[in-house]
C-alpha cells in the first residue's frame, strides 16, 4: 500500500515497518506473560492479537507488496473459516481444534518457504537462506501432517491405540536422518528439483508416521510438541525472509511449547523420547484377563451413590477424558450444586494429564461455571484424600491407578497419580470394565473401598442428580 503514501514518505517506510514490528514483539511478550495468570489472561490474549494486527497491517505497506487480489481473497477466506470454526467448536473438542489450527500454522510456514524459493531465482539464495528454507519446509510439513493425524486420532477417525509397523521407531529415525541429509543436499544444489520434492514429500510422510503410533493418552504431549514445532517453523521462515518479528514470535512459541511439553512429560514420569518412541503396549502389560477370576468388584447404583454423597462431609471429583467424551460437565456441576446446597464440600482434583491436552479438564469445568478456586492440582489435592469421604472418579482411569505406586513391573510405575485410594470411598463412573488407554488393569476397581457405577457418564450423573433431589 506504499503507493498510496506521498513520495517523500517512501524512504521512511522500511524503518517504520521495523519499528512497528518491534512494538508488535512487545505486545506478544507482554501478552504471553499475561496469559500466565487467570486474572490477566484474557487481556493477554487480546494484547497478542492486537500485536498481530499491527504486524499484519504495517506489512501491507512493505514496498515489495504490489498487488492485493491474492491477499484480500486469502485473508477473507481464512478469517471466515477460522472464525466459524472457533465459534462453533464445542469445549470438549478443544484439543482437536488446537491441533487443526496448529497444523494450518505449520503448513503455512512450509508454504512461505516454498513460495519464497519459487519466487526468486535459486542462484540468489545464500547458504543461510537455503538451509532455513529446507528446515522450514521440513518442520512445517511435519507439523502439518502430524497435527492432522493427531486430529484424526482425537476425533476417533483413526484408531486411538498404537498403529505401527514392526521396527517403526527405527524406520522413523532413519527417515528423519534421510530428511536432514536432503536438507543438506538441497542447500548444496538447490536447482535439482528431485531433491526439493523428495524433501517435501518425505517431511509430510514423517509427520504421519511419527504421530500415528502414539496412543491417545499421550496426545497432550504430542499436541504440545507440535505446537512447539509450528513456532520453530515460523522462526525458520523468519530466517528465510530475514524478518525479526517472525524469528522472535516463532521462537517464543517454540520455547513455550517445549516447556509445556516438558511439564506434561514430568506429569507422566516419562521422558520425551519415551513418549515419542516407546509405548505402553511395549511394556509388560499384565493383561486384565490373566487374574480376573480371583478379583471381584462391587457394583452400585444412583440411589446408593446419592445417599453416600449427600451425607458426606467432603466429596472430591476426579474427572478424566470420559467426562469430555460424554459431555457431562454441566450435569456434573448440577450434581455438585445439589451437594453444596446440602452443605457438602465439593472439590475437583485434576491430574496434569487428565484429558487429551494440558488443562483440558479445567477448560471443560470452567465452561460449566465451576469456580476455579475449586479446581485443585494434583499436589494440592493429594494431601486432602485421607480426609475425603467420597471420591467420584468420572471417566478417569490411569491417573488414579495405584499400580503406578505399588507394582514396579507396571508400565505406568512411577507416574505421579491422584491418591484416591486414601479416601474412605471411591466410586468409579465407567462404561464397562475395559482398561484405560494404557491398556493396564486397574487394581483400584477391585478394592474393598471402591464401587463401580456403570454407564455413560452423563446419564449416570443425571440419574445421580435426580436421586439426590428425591432425598429431600
Amino acid at each position: 500500500m506504499s503507493q498510496f503514501l506521498p513520495e517523500f514518505l517512501h524512504s521512511y517506510i522500511p524503518t517504520t515497518i521495523q519499528l512497528v514490528y518491534l512494538i508488535a514483539t512487545g505486545f506478544f511478550i507482554v501478552g504471553i506473560k499475561r496469559l500466565g495468570s487467570p486474572a490477566t489472561a484474557r487481556s493477554g490474549n487480546q494484547l497478542a492479537s492486537f500485536g498481530m494486527f499491527l504486524g499484519v497491517v504495517v506489512t501491507l505497506f512493505d514496498q515489495e507488496i504490489i498487488s492485493f487480489e491474492f491477499i484480500i481473497a486469502g485473508v477473507l477466506i481464512g478469517a471466515l473459516l477460522g472464525a466459524t470454526a472457533a465459534k462453533k467448536v464445542q469445549m470438549t473438542a478443544m484439543p482437536e481444534m488446537v491441533a487443526v489450527f496448529n497444523g494450518f500454522g505449520g503448513g503455512a510456514s512450509a508454504l512461505v518457504a516454498w513460495g519464497e524459493f519459487t519466487r526468486l531465482d535459486p542462484s540468489l539464495f545464500d547458504t543461510q537462506s537455503l538451509i532455513t528454507i529446507g528446515l522450514s519446509i521440513l518442520i512445517g510439513s511435519i507439523t502439518f501432517t502430524g497435527s492432522f493425524i493427531a486430529f484424526g486420532k482425537l476425533k476417533g477417525f483413526i484408531g486411538g491405540g498404537r498403529i505401527a509397523l514392526p521396527g517403526q521407531n527405527n524406520i522413523n529415525l532413519i527417515l528423519t536422518a534421510i530428511a536432514l541429509v536432503l536438507v543438506g543436499w538441497f542447500t548444496y544444489d538447490p536447482e535439482y528439483q528431485v531433491v526439493f520434492w523428495s524433501l517435501f514429500g518425505l517431511a509430510l510422510l514423517i509427520g504421519v508416521l511419527t504421530v500415528l503410533p502414539i496412543g491417545g493418552a499421550d496426545m497432550p504431549v504430542v499436541i504440545s510438541l507440535l505446537n512447539s514445532y509450528s513456532g520453530i517453523a515460523a522462526a525458520m521462515a523468519g530466517f528465510v525472509l530475514d524478518n525479526n518479528l517472525l524469528i522472535i514470535s516463532g521462537t517464543l512459541v517454540g520455547a513455550a511449547g517445549l516447556i509445556l511439553t516438558n511439564i506434561m512429560c514430568k506429569a507422566m514420569n516419562r521422558t520425551l523420547p519415551n513418549v515419542l518412541f516407546g509405548s505402553f503396549a511395549d511394556g509388560p502389560a499384565g493383561g486384565p484377563e490373566t487374574s480376573d477370576s480371583d478379583k471381584s468388584i462391587q457394583q452400585t447404583f444412583a440411589d446408593d451413590v446419592a445417599i453416600q454423597c449427600a451425607y458426606a462431609k467432603k466429596v472430591v471429583v476426579t474427572p478424566g477424558y470420559g467426562l469430555a467424551v460424554a459431555q457431562a460437565q454441566h450435569v456434573l456441576k448440577e450434581v455438585a450444586n445439589l451437594l453444596e446446597e446440602r452443605g457438602v464440600e465439593v472439590k475437583y482434583g485434576i491430574h496434569p494429564v487428565a484429558g487429551r491436552m494440558p488443562g483440558h479438564m479445567n477448560v471443560l469445568l470452567a465452561e460449566a461455571d465451576v469456580p476455579y478456586d475449586q479446581l485443585k492440582d494434583m499436589d494440592e489435592i493429594n494431601p486432602e484424600f485421607p480426609s475425603t469421604d467420597v471420591v467420584l472418579i468420572i471417566g478417569a482411569n490411569d491417573v488414579v491407578n495405584p499400580a503406578a505406586k505399588t507394582s514396579p513391573g507396571s508400565p505406568i510405575y512411577g507416574m505421579p497419580i491422584l491418591n484416591v485410594d486414601e479416601a474412605k470411598r471411591t466410586i468409579v463412573f465407567k462404561r464397562s470394565m475395559s482398561p484405560g488407554y494404557a491398556g493396564i488393569d486397574n487394581d483400584l476397581f477391585y478394592s474393598d473401598k471402591n464401587q463401580m457405577f456403570f454407564g455413560d457418564a452423563k446419564k449416570s450423573l443425571q440419574e445421580l442428580a435426580s436421586a439426590i433431589k428425591e432425598l429431600d
Binding site: 491474492f70 481464512g78 513460495g115 525472509l241 524478518n243
Partner: protein
Amino acid sequence: MEDLIFNLFIFVLAAFVGFELISKVPPTLHTPLMSGANAISGITLIGALIIAGGSGNLYAQWIGFAAIVFATINVVGGFMVTDRMLEMFKKKEDDQ
C-alpha cells in the same frame, strides 16, 4: 554471514525469553496458553503476505495465497477460540 549471526542472537535470546515467560503458568491455563501461543505462531502470515502480494511469478503468488489462507485460519481461529475459553474463566471472577 553477519545477518545469520545477528539472527541467531535474536533466536537464542527469544528462546530464553520464551522459557522465562512460560515456566510459571498454573495448569488451569495450559490449554488457553497453548492455543494463544499457537495463534501467535500464525505470525508466518506476514511472510505469506509478502509472497502473495510481491513481484514474482503467478505460481509463487498462488503458493502465497494458500499460505495466507492457512495462516489466517490459524491466527483468527486461534485468538478467537482462546478468547472464548478465557471468557469463561473470567466470568467466575465476576461471580465471586
